[in-house]
Symmetry: D3
Subunit: 134 residues, 6 copies
């Protein structure tokens, strides 16, 4: 049984690899490399798998799961600049792929009922990534 | 090949385990334990896997699948109270997890082309569960 | 200029007029008259009209507007039974139309920047009402 | 008859009035005042009113209207920082209200069939504004 | 008070004015003039205004309103070709604008509680029209 | 890591197997067999799996993936009749299942970073199919 909580946050980011020159970055990231950054209303779906507790009928209380997501993730990234404002994203190029991996590392040890089994991160309605751990 | 039908129903429910006292229930279910109940516009996605019939180009006619879902599920739960009005949910605490398992038991034997492979049940836009059988 | 905040709540209700007999109620409300009730994930859109404050660039801070909506409405109706649990809905048949009028009466005096100009209440994705005051 | 085109763009912004001190800005804009900015997937709905051309059956060709919106607005704001990168937003605090007014001024003279009658700008799924001109 | 029912139908159409030559049609309608046609999942929102009946708490029973829409419109246009299969659209170029006017003429006399006040017709998520009668 | 691009196209189709008579086709496809066809706003989700390139932080540039989808699929099916206008669908009954398989054959060899791992094709909001290759 898998339970999923879906939440959102709004953040700015810029795709840029400082180890390469402007031409390389423009070629790889095009308009996503804009120096002033741009931003998104990200939507994150966090899935936890486990057995149903026969007493509660739940794998994990979704209210509790959402509290964990807010405390571990959203309070740190919502209304922030993902390149400069988030300590646990230091040195990370904030592509959706890299964000999903970083979010997995933050969330996985914080979930103590069931086990984190999937993170879906939507950057826009058209672009999303799925990460299920290594 | 997997085909999926997505349908909705509106129902009332209350999360409460009568084997425990009020304090336990309030702690576990908080506002979901409200004595007068509350309700949701549930959305259910029913997925059937199988081979494509070369004559029809279909795994199962989705119109037929939706008729099965309406006859076996929606006619029994739509505009009902899930705690008191649905015989096949007798004794079940109507969490999304338990509903998904009960719905699987109802639907699985009724689908005679392809095989039921997944039920996704959305309680709200933020809360959902996935069940793929045991 | 009009600004709109969109929020949701989950509640149970039953459509039933106690001044009429069972036959009348069944004829008027059909399955919505189910004695055990049913429920919805309601979505409410609250619109406030006014001039833009040149200092802030806002008509009303939407965070503040959402706080008002939560305090005046959602804290009273979310995860409740609209027939029995909400004092300010006493004696009101909880149709979407009547709810919109009752919500207007609660919200209108509580909004002190700009003026409440429209409430849209969605009972389901298919059913909604618009109320703009008398 | 009114026709509406709905399009999106992703941008960073910060709400901050440089004529006031940090305390004022924090009080008015709270987390929207974050120095590194944040961002949104904005959705804009542009409505044009007019008579139906009996030859084409259209008020304005929506493909043409969308080309105008892209050329006048989206090419300038998509994947940009609304505080620093957009000449026609110079000196404007980029609240949704102010953006809607600035967008109106850009679009209104560029629409040569029918007349611009409404702009709806969604900052998030929860927050939106409507502007219909002065 | 305004109540709105939202329903969908799937249909094929082609935009082509037989009074003009191929070049004119290609210029005006571009890919929408494709000889084999194309199609959409149309969404229609039908709004009725009126007073709340104090006995029922409703302007018009939305179940009844949806029955009218199905009988007068959807049964005639769903899974049809709007150019060739619908008698009441004979001679009409099936743009969203013209469809909205034709639908108004069908629906308006069929609604006997409250009065039809608005039809919104969505051709796609990006393209829609609003018609409020003459 | 899986990345997904979501795009749409509008097309007409008719479900009909010319190897069988009218009665068989009516029984199998009912209203989907309408001779003049009908149509949909299809939504396609294309997923590619692979490792994250440490230099770019991406599996595949989603802008590039969307260009491939447009060039290989959408330019051929958007605003077309799937029964008559698309060479690579010749002889294919255009059910969602068959379309997903045909689209897989077109897209799979065209994706040169990562590997195509899933196609989801939505015919309507209620009907969809998933194909993950043989």
């Amino acid at each position: 049984m898998i339970v999923t909580a879906k939440l959102g946050f709004s953040a700015a980011h810029r795709l840029h690899n400082p180890n390469f020159d402007a031409e390389w970055n423009r070629q790889k990231y095009d308009k996503c490399d804009n120096a002033g950054g741009h931003g998104h209303n990200y939507v994150i779906e966090v899935s936890v798998s486990g057995d149903i507790d026969p007493q509660t009928g739940m794998v994990i209380d979704l209210t509790k799961l959402k509290d964990i997501i807010r405390r571990e993730l959203l309070d740190h990234v919502d209304h922030r600049n993902l390149n400069s404002d988030v300590p646990f994203l230091g040195g990370v190029i904030p592509t959706a792929e890299n964000l999903a991996v970083s979010f997995w590392k933050r969330l996985s040890p914080a979930i103590d009922e069931g086990a984190l089994c999937q993170i879906v991160l939507h950057e826009t309605e058209k672009n999303s990534v799925v990460y299920r751990g290594e």
